[in-house]
């Protein structure tokens, strides 16, 4: 492991986080209305509105508010909600909703990789055969399908036409049992994973085909290495790096996809919560959720970068 590479990568995440959080924070103030209107609705007098603005520090310059917000965050205080369960610590809402979304995204990722990788591999190995064509058609169809529509379609198909009641029951929390809990996440995870299965399959196929055309494959064959050994030991390892990048990025994209899936299936994760927060202009909650999403994005990208070295130790910084 190259420690300088690791250190530089970790250090780079700091400015990325600062810029991302600042823009997230700043963009909130461009929204019409503002948090005070959301709380008081039509009943607030100008005096009440001013009082609330002062109470939440909204009457100060935005950069000052940002610094204060970040200072509080670093001390573990994400503030309290304005509208959704008014006065509830944002961290409390995140503590209940974030694990649900992570679990959903993780399940979807697991499904995507378990199906997408072999599918892409088969497609590459049987290039231009019916297996390849079928896989590619499936991949294009999967990428083209809106997650939202897939969710509804799966509900109708499994729940209504196949009469599987578990599919219709909505979200079941873990406290009600592991099996019903996992079953309640099954359809959402599958719906969420379909586009990523397609994406991973396509990337695996093209990457493997490129890799199979490399000189080392020709040399390997000339040296009498078996096809099986070549593919699983050399081609796959070389071709996996771009696929791994896609998988790393997909986790972040999956989090984005949960917004729609959580609405369709009524899952109280952060995707659902951020929609509710956006509609009700609950700024502290929006900021808290956005911060977490940015953190997850940055962390998964960092982890992906670092794991490159594990997969291929030759990867280093250019100036090293």
């Amino acid at each position: 492991m190259n420690y300088r590479y690791v250190l530089e990568r970790v250090l780079w995440t700091i400015p990325v986080l600062i810029v991302a959080t600042f823009f997230t924070f700043f963009l909130m103030f461009l929204a019409p209305g503002g948090p005070v209107a959301a709380v008081f609705g039509v009943a607030g007098s100008p005096e009440e509105i001013e009082r609330l603005r002062a109470q939440y520090g909204l009457d100060r310059p935005i950069p000052v508010q940002y610094v204060d917000w970040m200072t509080d965050i670093l001390q573990g205080d994400m503030g309290t909600t304005l509208v959704i369960r008014t006065g509830t610590p944002v961290s409390e809402i995140l503590a209940t909703s974030l694990p649900i979304t992570i679990e959903l995204a993780f399940l979807a990722m697991l499904i995507s990789v378990s199906i997408g990788l072999p599918l892409g591999l088969i497609s590459a190995l049987y290039q231009d055969t019916w297996k390849d064509h079928a896989s590619r058609i499936g991949a294009v169809t999967g990428v083209s399908m809106p997650t939202f529509w897939l969710g509804l379609l799966s509900l109708m198909l499994v729940g209504v036409f196949l009469e599987q009641q578990w599919a219709l029951r909505g979200y079941v929390s873990l406290s009600e049992g592991l099996q019903p809990h996992l079953l309640s996440l099954m359809l959402p995870a599958i719906s969420l994973s379909v586009p990523y299965i397609a994406l991973i399959a396509r990337m695996t196929r093209s990457s493997m085909i490129d890799s199979m055309k490399s000189e080392f494959v020709v040399n390997g064959r000339a040296m009498g290495i078996t096809e099986r050994e070549l593919i699983f030991r050399d081609v796959f390892r070389n071709g996996f790096i771009p696929v791994f990048t896609v998988i790393g990025m997909s986790f972040g994209l999956l989090l984005r996809g949960t917004v729609l899936i959580e609405i369709v299936f009524g899952i109280p994760g952060i995707g659902f919560m951020i929609t509710e927060a956006a509609f009700s202009r609950d700024f502290p909650l929006i900021q808290g959720i956005m911060l977490v999403i940015v953190l997850i994005f940055v962390t998964t990208n960092l982890a992906t970068d670092l794991l490159y070295q594990v997969i291929d130790p030759r990867i280093t910084y250019e100036d090293e």
Binding site: A37, V83, M273
Partner: protein, 526 residues
């Protein structure tokens, strides 16, 4: 790319957010009267009713949206309540006396207990109302209790509420979801320990259920109140209210029989629901009208001829046909024909006539441009129809879709000229009215109760509701939608339809349509 349809998803998730207080309250009453699954169906009898609401707004202690009203009415009761068919029935009080026009003497039931077994007495009622009145508690019901000047506990079971001024609909208001929920003085909702956003299993009311669990953003689970005084309720072992804000998911879960009752389905889904085996349903015209309100003290509608032009350019029938697929009714006057205040003698109204509209535009000085502020679909669709017609007569209308709150704020702050297309007005803005709600009087009369800031409109409304003879009423009614240089109220567009469907296994479910021809008696004793 995956997820590109975020915007559509967000839009869809918000399409059903209506503040239909009356409908919500009566729907809650309907659910209470709903029975159970068949005995051979499952061991535990669970009734599952979706809440069509935003998890952000849901608050059983409040009454900000239909979902909250339904959720709250499972736990709490008021002095009086509504039956599913819109009549007053006993709640905490079994009777009301009127010593004078300002005083309401509520006679409380002798042995009413909350879910803990604590008796509810007059002091508890007083504390409940005072909590709502207390500005520090920020109760959304506060404004409706401001008329109560004095609360006197006469004895343990008698309390008098004295109003500042006579207000005919007061009793109905107290029975409606806007009335104070009555709880024991030492429970959270009343004590002011927390604000109104605090529902939890600790909140104890006298209603038929008690909250067992509130899984935020997911569902509310209730169990029966063992001390509930009304022997007929509840007849289920558990009541679950999942929050299903997405219309397609709600339809799928109803089709798959996961949920038992479908409230307010999308118009496009109704034909499919009607064809389902084992599903009962009713459709009726509801108590809510879509109407147009003018900002009469600002250009361009400070000229009555422009107001009249818009009135003549509104194709109500097209709105009924295209926006509501025929499940609505053209409205020509303030009261629906099922109410005593409707007058069939009033035949003149602003008929759809683009030539007339064009003449008024020309008389007023020619083309003009303005904004139409509207809530999301279906109101925005109506606004687009109006926009198309106005374009034909050279008037440019920009349809601006706003959230209810944002729209009212901007209107109140006088930032926006133009007109608004609304379903229900709300408090504290500079439109010519203030509060406008549907009411059923104790004698079974149906009326609207209204409080107007605008003296002129208030006088017309009073004349209309109190008119002693038919001619006076017709005269007053005609003034209500008269758009002239002197008067500036609003004019009526269409009455919206209400549809409900439920599986046959749900016993004695009574859909609630107040003041409608389809209103029916059911077999549930009360």
């Amino acid at each position: 790319m995956p997820g590109d349809d975020i915007a559509n998803g967000l839009a869809n998730s918000g399409t059903n957010r209506r503040t239909l207080l009356k409908f919500g309250g009566l729907t809650a009453a309907s659910i209470l009267s709903a029975g159970c699954l068949g005995d051979d169906d499952v061991d535990e009898r669970i009734l599952r009713v979706p809440l069509v609401t935003s998890a952000a707004n849901l608050e059983p202690n409040g009454y900000l949206d239909q979902g909250s009203i339904i959720a709250g009415d499972m736990i709490y009761e008021r002095l009086e309540m509504y039956t599913p068919v819109g009549e007053l029935r006993p709640g905490i009080a079994h009777d009301v006396e009127r010593p004078d026009e300002l005083t309401y003497r509520y006679l409380l039931q002798d042995e009413i207990q909350d879910a803990r077994g604590e008796a509810i007495k007059a002091e508890d009622v007083k504390a409940s109302i005072e909590w709502v009145q207390d500005q520090d508690n920020n109760s959304p019901k506060q404004g409706f209790h401001s008329e109560i000047e004095e609360i006197d506990v006469i004895d343990e079971h008698t309390i008098e509420l004295v109003l500042e001024s006579a207000w005919a609909p007061f009793r109905n208001l107290m029975a409606s979801p806007a009335g104070a929920n009555i709880t024991s003085a030492d429970t959270r909702g009343v004590s002011g320990i927390d604000n109104q956003y605090s529902s939890s299993p600790d909140d104890i009311g006298t209603g038929p259920f008690q909250l067992e669990e509130w899984d935020t953003g997911n569902k509310l689970t209730y169990i029966p109140n063992p001390n509930y005084w009304h022997e007929d309720y509840p007849r289920v072992d558990r009541l679950e209210m999942p929050i299903i804000s997405e219309t397609g998911a709600r339809m799928a879960r109803f089709s798959g029989q996961d949920i038992d009752i479908m409230l307010q389905p999308e118009t496009r889904d109704i034909p499919q629901l009607e064809e389902m085996d084992g599903v009962e349903g009713e459709s009726a015209i509801g108590g809510v009208a879509q109407f147009v309100a003018f900002m009469c003290d600002k250009p361009p509608f400070d000229d009555w001829r422009r107001r009249r032009a818009v009135a003549h350019a509104t194709d109500r029938q097209r709105i009924v046909d295209n926006v509501y697929a025929g499940r609505a009714e053209v409205s020509h006057q303030y009261a629906h024909e099922s109410t005593p205040w409707h007058t069939g003698d009033l035949t003149e109204y602003f008929e759809y006539d683009l030539d007339k509209a064009k003449d008024f535009v020309d008389e007023s000085g020619g083309s003009f441009e303005f904004d139409i502020f509207t809530r999301p679909t279906p109101w925005s669709q109506s606004a687009e129809i109006l926009q198309e017609d106005l374009e034909e007569i050279g008037v440019t209308a920009n349809v601006r879709e706003f959230s209810h709150t944002a729209m009212l704020n901007q209107t109140r702050e006088e930032e926006r000229p133009g007109l608004t297309l609304q379903n229900l007005p709300d408090r504290e803005h500079n439109w010519p009215y203030q509060i406008h709600r549907f009411a059923v009087f104790p004698e079974g009369e149906v009326s609207w109760f209204t409080r107007y800031e605008n003296e002129d409109v208030r006088e017309v409304m009073f004349n209309y509701l109190e008119a002693g003879d038919r001619d006076a009423q017709i005269e007053a009614a005609s003034q209500l939608y008269e758009v002239t240089a002197e008067r500036c109220p609003f004019y009526w567009s269409v009455w919206e339809g209400i549809d409900q469907f439920w599986w046959e296994r749900v016993e004695n479910y009574q859909p609630s349509y107040v003041g409608q021809p389809l209103l029916r008696e059911t077999g549930v004793s009360d």
